[in-house]
Amino acid sequence: MSEVPSTTVAREDLFGLAAEFTTTPGIYHAAEKTRAAGYTWFDCNVPFPVHGLDRAMGVKMTILPVFVFFGGLTGLILACILQVFTNSLQIDLWALVPVVGYQFEVSGKPLIGPAAFVPVAFEMTVLFSALTAVFGTFFLNKLPMFYHPVLKCPQLARATDDRFYLVIEAKDPKFSLAEVEAFLHTLEPESVIALEK
């Protein structure tokens, strides 16, 4: 509790104030108190997902599973269209553009054999769901983001190692430098750090 953040960063350049904790109970209870104090623009930067911290912060359940469901559905529909089209379809668009699949007879088997289409339909469903899950996470997390005040501050480098940081951003409607600083000190952090934009 040595630093006086208000003197290190100009007010207009201030991104927010960070409180440093060394233990998981420390950050957990700090997050609970911050939420109870009515702050909304705050985040915790932690080296691993602390169990229950998202609930303590009041993070809403992500919409990601819904994305993934529709991603999987897209894969399933595409796989069915692809297989039916390429193996059997024959349509004439106004007799101008003949679109013909590759109708290849093999030992009298039907051109549209639903049982034979199951493996590829399954694989495509899984593929599209997985791609949606990963790229959906990146999209919702706004990654890649190579510039961020938290990354810029060398004092917060240990957020990916063994320290836990609670950051209250300056854009929070309740933010006032003196008040937030006093509030963070009541959480008994190791130190309070001012973050430059």
Binding site: T23, T24, P25, I27, Y28, A31, D43, C44, N45, V46, P47, F48, P49, V50, H51, G52, L53, D54, R55, M57, V59, T62, L64, P65, L82, Q83, T86, N87, Y102, F104, V106, K109, A116, P119, V120, E123, M124, V126, L127, S129, A130, L131, A133, V134, T137, F138, N141, L143, P144, M145, F146, H148, V150, L151, A157, R158, A159, T160, D161, D162
Partner: protein
């Protein structure tokens, strides 16, 4: 022969199990310990020697493939009737190896097997490299390798499409999906650890390289929330996927009419065999890696013992499948089927059959004994033998059925050429080169996940945290109900 101290190990009483992480009580020391192999200025000399050997073998693979493409498939021993030969044996072998990674990362994750955390990262890496090796073989086996893109449904001027009613095309989709999903799973899991390496980098080049690879991850809990959800979804998706991939590979055989291939037991039997060989390969790699890279605090005897148990279980399943195949061949009353199986065991390739049985069925039975499950030398030898046995299993399935099918007039023996053998050895070079580069330049264990299973990670201070399979305490269970 070194026997590890038993106190590190699974106790007789499940409530007194050994800790998953030994000798560490702070998060920082875990990071330091795992990354010391990446951050030391020079890796051990054995790493350079291993890399030199692997790289030479990989170059040999390149030369052999070049020779094959410029000369034609006649340089191989493949003939008519044995048109599949080594390339498909090797393909199935490598795909099988690749199964342990996703099993560990997905199925054991859903089953809340916390010990998987120490081995999942490099098992996933192993999966990806094994699938790369596997993918090489069908690509060069098609004969005209420059037309390999015909495998994919790409619109073309010939108005020609792949045959979606063929299991060989299902395989393209299954293996392609498996590779992509495994890669995504591996990469997603690695992002937080790459960020750790970025923040600890001691040179500008490293900081930029790891910085780009970690996408600007900053450990935000709001990000972690979605990340954990995505990880769970991927695990749920990869679970049926891992079971489907080797089932689809087995359809390549089972959907044909050939005696010895045309059986319904193939999908579960192939999946069990794949997990069996995959775990054996994980142990083959884990044992030297934990010695050289000093990872004994994380990959403990308890982990090795658990893996031995999986090998014992799946090995017994494979043994059951072998005996059931024989039984059904006799019970069906089909003369071709019965002949094929008697021919497998006592015909010209009988030696391969008995190598397979002794390595795959008899060897893992040693793991019934706790002394064997905790003895590094025995574990390592047994895992090598299982790898050998599983290669021979694929050899027996592919070659014996094709060599002696229905009509004796169309029978023919198969002999690999030196090109076959060197190509196979070269694929090990490819695999090991990737693996050695991986353990040097990427986080070899899942650092963030390992920290999360430490007792110190529990924000409620109960101490047991994720370490054991115990139920939640009443207080935290109540809290969870309220939260939902």
């Amino acid at each position: 022969m070194t026997t590890l101290p038993l106190k590190d190990n699974t106790g007789e009483n499940p409530s007194q199990r050994a800790q998953l992480i030994l000798n560490h009580t702070s998060f920082g020391s875990v990071t330091d310990d795992i990354l010391k192999g990446n951050e030391c200025p020079k890796p051990p000399r054995s790493w350079y020697i291993a890399l030199a050997i692997s790289f030479s073998m990989m170059s040999m693979l390149g030369v052999m493939i070049g020779y094959l493409i410029f000369t034609g498939v006649g340089v191989w021993g493949n003939n008519n009737p044995v048109a599949w030969g080594y390339p498909i044996v090797n393909f199935v072998f490598w795909v099988g190896i690749g199964h342990a990674g996703t099993l560990i990362s997905a199925i054991l994750f859903l089953f809340r097997q916390k010990w998987r955390t120490a081995i999942n990262r490099f098992a996933e890496a192993m999966t990806i490299f094994a699938v790369i090796c596997a993918g090489t073989f069908p690509g060069i086996h098609i004969g005209r390798a420059w037309l390999a893109y015909w495998l994919f449904p790409i619109p073309n001027q010939m108005d020609m499409w792949p045959q979606f009613r063929s299991p060989l095309l299902w395989d393209v989709f299954a293996v392609g999906t498996y590779f992509t999903v495994s890669l995504l799973f591996w990469y997603l899991g690695m992002i937080p650890d790459l960020a750790t390496m970025r923040d600890r980098a001691n040179s500008k080049v490293k900081a930029i390289a790891y910085g780009i690879a970690s996408l600007g991850w900053r450990g935000s809990m709001r990000h972690w929330h979605r990340y954990e959800r995505a990880y769970l979804l991927l695990a749920a998706l990869a679970t049926p996927l891992v079971l489907s991939v080797h089932s689809v590979v087995s359809f390549d055989f089972a959907v044909s009419q050939l005696p010895g291939w045309h059986t319904t037991i193939f999908p579960p039997y192939f999946v069990a065999g794949a997990i069996f060989s995959g775990f054996a390969m994980v142990m083959t790699l884990a044992i030297p890696a934990r010695e050289l890279w000093g990872l004994k605090n994380f990959i403990t005897t308890r982990h090795l013992e658990n893996m031995c148990k999986v090998v014992l279980l799946t090995g017994s399943m494979v043994g059951y499948a072998y005996s059931m195949e024989f039984f059904i061949a006799w019970y069906s009353g089909e003369i071709y089927e019965s002949f094929t199986f008697i021919n497998r065991a006592f015909g010209p390739y009988g030696w391969a059959y008995w190598i397979m049985v002794s390595c795959n069925v008899i060897t893992p039975q040693i793991f019934w004994f706790k002394k064997a499950r905790t003895n590094i030398a025995i574990i390592f030898t047994a895992s090598l033998l299982v790898n050998v046995g599983m290669w021979f299993e694929r050899f027996v399935i592919v070659v014996t059925s094709l060599a002696n099918d229905f009509l004796p007039s169309s029978w023919g023996m198969y002999e690999p050429t030196y090109v076959d053998v060197l190509t196979f050895l070269g694929s090990f070079g490819l695999f090991m080169t990737f693996f050695l580069l991986f353990i040097r330049y990427l986080p070899v264990l899942a650092i963030a996940e390992l920290k999360a299973i430490m007792p110190e990670a529990d924000p409620h201070g109960h101490g047991h945290s994720y370490n054991e399979m115990e139920g939640e305490t009443d207080a935290s269970a109540k809290e969870m109900e309220e939260g939902e």
